[in-house]
Symmetry: C2
Subunit: 403 residues, 2 copies
């Protein structure tokens, strides 16, 4: 089993790097804090005897040789966070992988296959939309130009920021052939906690659509402009949001308006423009596509009725995917052998593993989230659940790397 | 009559100072551009032989002596604008007053009473909420500490910014006793244009409430969090906005949500907090108060139903006011003598004259707004309407200052 003291020392250090009130983390992709954490991770990889390389998208790979020159077992996740995120989202998958390496070193274990740890760039999609640009980039979902040209809210480009923090490497350093890819992650939902299970054996990830909407009405003075003469972009957006919420009548689909802004954004101005995003998800691709079409129809209908302009941009789409059955079995068996209760489940959130799955056999391990919370400072996984996760990861790696 | 060439030269210069695309102006109170325009105005006042003083709130007064040491006739408005405002909102009232002085000078006319021009600070309330801090400050509506402590969206304080641009003067320089106060302003509504009138004789200003609302739900991940387990602050705000719009069933009341923001404001985060403002107006104080109570009840009811927290802060309230009947008569007679068509009307927007009315006899002159537009770059008053306004102001001043 892994060394708890060392593991929690590493986690503490990460929790300090970009700390915000109430135990939160703000470590946006390619920011100064991301750079600081990457530097720390790099140093830790050196200490663990790993060889580091960085690819053209800023993804970091740390390798440990095997007895044979075979395709490696790869472990990884991300070190970036939401604007006001929690301590373990992504972080666990990277730092528990590092602890697995340390434990192998401690025990003088040489695996048959090489091992590799990855830290993927911009998983969250909070600074540069859409999410998973690093993993999607190497999986052929996004091409290099697209990734490089993504802009944050202040107009800074991905490429500029990648160069600024000194993490632009070479394209030939991208992930090569691999035997298997494993991502340990917090569940971010309430299921494991509700059912009192220690380990989630993740069989797949639900599909996602992201839509960006701009409503164009007419800005006006809030005083002398009668209600019936207005083209209020925000009132149109409000009606749309209300309709969207009402139209979701199944628990198998979610719809979220996470971002909104209006212009001119002054108390005594009728909003002339409203911008907002819609996030639509389902484990059932047909239901999701239906909800996506329905959403666009509702937006068009309300806009037409209110005689305001509308522009919609599809920001992102990913289909539902299934992970590799033989890896999920190894995970399940490892948990069982270690005496941990487990549950087969789907992921409600996107993950780097989703895109890596395009390239080769992949699966994920979930650990419970207290109250199902994530993307908030109060996100938490209990110490004993972190340890169960680390040991399950360790045993799964021992099996896979000696196959 | 006034000198058109000189007048339009002054107006052009103002239109350049803080110009934004599509003929708009961005000259927020106490910003660098406001400072630049104040400096220009100061120079012009010197050229017109006026004596300048500045009070503790940054209000600027330029005086011309009369034959007798009597209370002056005061003319004025404001030189600040909305974030993306038009060229003439406020500006006309200050620069047409200056042109009136020049015309008196040209004609060698000495009036019985002294004359004074005022440029009031932060009329718009766009940078520092609420509006009319300068005029409200001298009228005893806001005390000095309150005005000084107002903060803009970036946390800069009124006092800091007033000192920074060098326009903090002495409290004893505030407006003294006066014979009459006159504000010429653009209508900002569609009535004069619709009825084909040149001059609006403003008999009063409708009442206004401003409310600031914070809804506190729970931030969450947009993926793994089922709809029925959410406390989505933005969905609550959207329902509130929809309800408010539906509940206004009379054309005598307006309700506007002009500002909104959410947190964490990330595509894949359920909003945990939503902030928005409500602006409520009516010429009938009873109807307005009813609508204000109704608004607060709706906000409470929806929040309760959705089990989200709510905090409401009253940002501003002003009652409906009536202007001085003898001054409105002088305005109406001046317009008629000059051959201009005129209409008695109420103002839908707040104005410095509204607060100055607390201190002594006050009235306003409106000129038409093309398409009734204001608080947008497309705000426009036609040249001939500006000239009619200037001549009406001139003749009104001639009458009042010799009373
Ligand atoms: N795990 C996670 O929060 N990823 C971000 C992508 C998503 O929105 O699901
Ligand atoms: N005239 C004007 O737009 N004043 C701002 C105060 C208000 O909102 O009415």
């Amino acid at each position: 089993t892994i060394n708890e003291e060392r593991l929690f020392r590493m986690l503490s250090k990460s929790s300090e790097t970009g700390a915000i009130p109430e135990n939160g983390l703000r470590r946006l992709a390619l920011s100064d804090k991301d750079q600081e954490m990457r530097n720390i991770f790099k140093e830790w990889c050196n200490e663990a005897g790993l060889t580091l390389r960085v690819d053209d998208l800023g993804n970091m790979y740390a390798s440990r040789e095997g007895k044979k020159d075979l395709p490696p077992v790869v472990l990884g996740s991300h070190l970036d966070t939401q604007p006001a995120g929690g301590r373990f989202d992504g972080v666990l998958g990277v730092l528990l992988a590092l602890e697995v390496i340390h434990t192998l070193n401690d025990n003088g274990i040489e695996t048959e296959r090489p091992l590799e740890i990855v830290n993927f760039t911009n998983e969250e999609g909070a600074r540069f939309e859409p999410p998973m640009l690093g993993s999607g980039g190497i999986a052929g979902v996004f091409d290099q130009d697209y990734v490089y040209s993504r802009k944050d809210a202040d107009g800074f480009r991905f490429l500029e920021e990648l160069e600024r923090i000194g993490y632009k490497g070479e394209k030939e350093n991208r992930l090569g052939d691999f035997h298997s890819f494993l991502e340990l992650h917090i569940e971010q939902g309430p299921i494991l906690e509700d059912e009192n299970k220690q380990i989630g054996v993740v069989e797949g990830v639900q599909g996602i659509n992201w839509l960006e909407v701009t409503i164009t009405g007419e800005a006006d003075h809030a005083g002398p402009t009668p209600m019936h003469l207005r083209k209020d972009a925000l009132m149109a957006a409000a009606e749309i949001m209300n309709q969207l919420e009402k139209e979701i009548t199944t628990t198998d689909v979610t719809v979220t308006v996470g971002k909104i802004s209006v212009s001119p954004n002054s108390v005594n101005c009728v909003p002339g423009e409203a911008h907002f995003t819609v996030d639509i998800r389902s484990a059932n691709d047909d239901l999701r596509k239906e909800a996506f079409e329905g959403t666009m129809n509702t937006i068009r209908r309300v806009s037409q009725n209110r005689d305001v302009g509308v522009e919609m941009t599809e920001l992102w789409e990913t289909e539902k995917i299934d992970f590799d059955r033989s890896i999920t079995e190894v995970i399940e068996n490892s948990a069982t052998e270690l005496g941990y209760s487990s549950k087969r489940m789907l992921s409600g959130a996107g993950h780097d593993a989703k895109y890596v799955n395009n390239l080769g056999p992949t699966a994920m391990i979930f650990v419970p989230s207290v109250n199902g919370k994530s993307h908030v400072p109060s996100e938490l996984t209990l110490d004993q659940d972190i340890v169960s996760g680390a040991n399950t990861l360790y045993h799964t790696v021992l099996t896979l790397s000696n196959e």
